[in-house]
Symmetry: C2
């Protein structure tokens, strides 16, 4: 992508209304633009990161055997009356009437709808177990939206729902999603801590939140240091992790006689990016869903639900990975792999080298943002640092005369001069 | 994907409430499920097709130089007051108040929002021309939603918006999108006719609709037979196409002295799947958008907008491509390339061949739906025909003993027995 034809409205000043660093950096880097309180347009750079994160989430859901569908944003109030949640859900639910005066709402979550879809489509135990998921925009009418995409009103969520014939099966589905979550966050370069959580309005008796660690995190987590030694690729990782003490501050404060010795108790700041629940037959029973069991009698399926805040993760990753100059994207979710800077667009030799490198990297499938604008070098460096592209290639007249370019790694800042061929080989490896 | 672990609730009976063939087939093939009037959940098979169509649309937008962003679904009423459309737009606009009693709406289109975003981000003529697009769910509160996804209330649309410094530039952007549209529909195997259209509530003085031809189409198109001879890959295709007579019936009826000789006047049924507009400074002027021109004075940009009904296209393609047994997907947007049928899951030799072929095709990146369920062969054939997968591979005991499988092409129905290796080579070519 050539910057001369892109839409990247970076800001020089930090907007005064943005309180946290991810919100500031997303605005400065031209990733988002607020269109109403707590509602954002995703500008091209922001959308690229959002889609990268979405793709990682999707791949790990698919690997875990979950099947993707897509439910609509608008739901009927009557559906929520079946579970009894329509009246129970507070003013965070955006409610309205359509032109025929039917009560509708913008879905804040989808337990009722997926249960209705599955109930109306499935008759036999042979269609279970099944975990279905979608990645769709939700709306929660926060009374005081803030912190940019971290607590917005319209947000992108991955929500999965498992259906099993019995509780043991339900627990197995829960563990499979637990593993998928560990893998998802690890692939993004994040350290995630699973925390035993109260179940709240979703109901049920088993729930974990996943917090990614970031010094600027919104919440405080207390956990046993043993948690840090668990190998998440180990087959028994879930059993180990769920057996080790980990609580959010509010819950930790309620615990009398914390079982963790003081020298092993760790306290870190975190950001909640995932939440999973096993709630048995709460919705299937209320909504009259049964399947014919193996012995012919009706069985009420056991359910779980599993959320990841996809748009929230964009902010969460920035909180966990930035420095004074801007964002430092983990490779797996960077908007571009390479930022190509031509320091002298008016120099034919520089332009030829830059154009050639851009063409070759693009042909090799490398995502490149090519700063081909007639701007000062300082402004170009600052922009590339700000938007956090993992690799920068700098092309200037002296280097071109000597047959070299400069390669800079954004995280760490290591710089190296090397031949154009070597740079190309390194970036396409 | 193994069908035993998928979610494909096909229906044996044609639902009585579905009037047109695409609606009937989408319901029968387990592609969609209605959740409220005119609102649908996209079940896994339907979602795969929707994403394929979306990908083709995206690629052609990108090739045309348009830049993708993503605007939210919910908009502020005040934004629409800036253009004067808030009061002008009828009851199709879904309006509501949020918890702080601010007037909001679910966006039916995005002229106002993109103009505001661009206005607040861009200062100089050097940032123009630019075409921005997004692919986002829209809501239009149709009084009588019907025909499935063809006239739903919540629908997926690609909408692009061009900004140019002068009218000549705006016309060039319009032509670039015109070409992108021709390519988009051609890639999906569709014959699209551009029809000169009245501009309606979007405003402006130049507009074309794109109709795909289908015998069951909703509208009637009159055009000069010369249209059929235009090579859309020709550099002058737009000039040729826009110069040739083509009108929807209603507009055609208003034409006195139709310029097309009777023997060249064609009448075909079509389905509108795209609509493009050039409307000059209608929105930029009303919303006070200017940039500094090359000579320093303020310039009011010229705009166009360009829509494709992405979810509508799913139905449109089915209208254009089906037979008595079900859907016949064009290769480019098929949900799977291959349907693999094991006729005898209880036969170890058949299962071994089928499993092996499934593994090898999947490893080669071929999308396969593998019917590994314990069902009758007749039911399996009917399902594969119904859902329209382009290639079927049938594995049975006699063939396996002879070292062959049957390969069937869904469109045309050609069948061939060939060795397993040859089948693999054919499908991975």
């Amino acid at each position: 992508m050539k910057l001369s034809g892109y839409f990247l409205p970076v800001l020089k000043e930090t907007p005064t209304d943005a309180q946290i660093v991810s919100h500031q950096l997303m605005l400065r880097a031209g990733m988002i633009k607020q269109t109403s309180a707590g509602i954002y347009a995703w500008l091209p750079l922001g959308l690229r990161v959002l889609r990268k994160i979405e793709a990682v989430v999707r791949e790990e859901q698919d690997k875990a055997g979950a099947v993707e569908l897509l439910m609509p944003t608008i739901q009927a109030a009557d559906l929520w009356r079946e579970s009894g949640r329509y009246d129970a859900y507070g003013p965070e639910m955006l409610r309205f009437n359509d032109r025929h005066d039917r009560e509708m709402l913008f879905g804040p979550t989808n337990e009722e709808m997926i249960t209705a879809i599955f109930r109306d489509s499935v008759r036999s135990y042979r269609d279970l177990p099944r975990t279905l998921y979608h990645i769709q925009w939700k709306f929660r009418d926060e009374t005081r939206p803030r912190f940019g995409v971290m607590r917005g009103r319209e947000f992108l969520m991955k929500d999965a729902y498992s259906f099993d014939l019995d509780e043991a099966g339900g627990q197995a589905s829960y563990r499979a999603m637990f593993v998928a979550y560990l893998r998802t966050f690890a692939r993004m370069g994040l350290k995630a801590v699973p925390v035993r959580a109260p179940t709240g309005p979703i109901g049920g008796n088993l729930s974990h939140e996943f917090h990614i660690l970031a010094e600027t995190g919104e919440s405080e987590i207390f956990y046993d240091a043993a948690l840090e030694d668990v190998d998440i690729t180990d087959a028994g990782a879930v059993e180990q992790l769920t057996g080790i003490y980990a609580m959010e501050a509010e819950e930790h404060a309620k615990v009398e006689n914390c079982p963790v010795p003081a020298d092993r108790l760790r306290s870190r700041r975190g950001i909640e990016v995932g939440h999973i629940f096993f709630f048995g037959n709460k919705y299937t029973k209320a909504m009259g869903m049964t399947v014919q069991g193996p012995e012919g009698s009706a069985v009420v399926p056991q359910m779980g639900s599993y959320g990841i805040g996809v748009s929230r993760l964009v902010g969460g990753v920035i909180e966990a990975s930035h420095d004074k100059d801007g964002i430092v994207w983990p490779d797996a979710i960077a908007p571009f792999k390479v930022g190509l800077i031509n320091l002298r667009v008016d120099d034919a030799a520089c332009a030829a080298v830059a154009d050639d490198l851009y063409a070759k990297l693009s042909a090799a499938g490398v995502e490149v943002l090519y700063d081909d604008r007639d701007e000062r070098g300082g402004a170009k460096f600052a922009t590339m640092d700000l938007i956090g592209v993992p690799w920068q290639v700098v092309i200037g007249p002296k280097g071109v005369a000597a047959g070299v370019v400069e390669l800079k790694r954004r995280g760490g800042g290591d710089r190296e001069e090397l031949s154009i061929e070597s740079a190309l080989a390194r970036l396409t490896a």
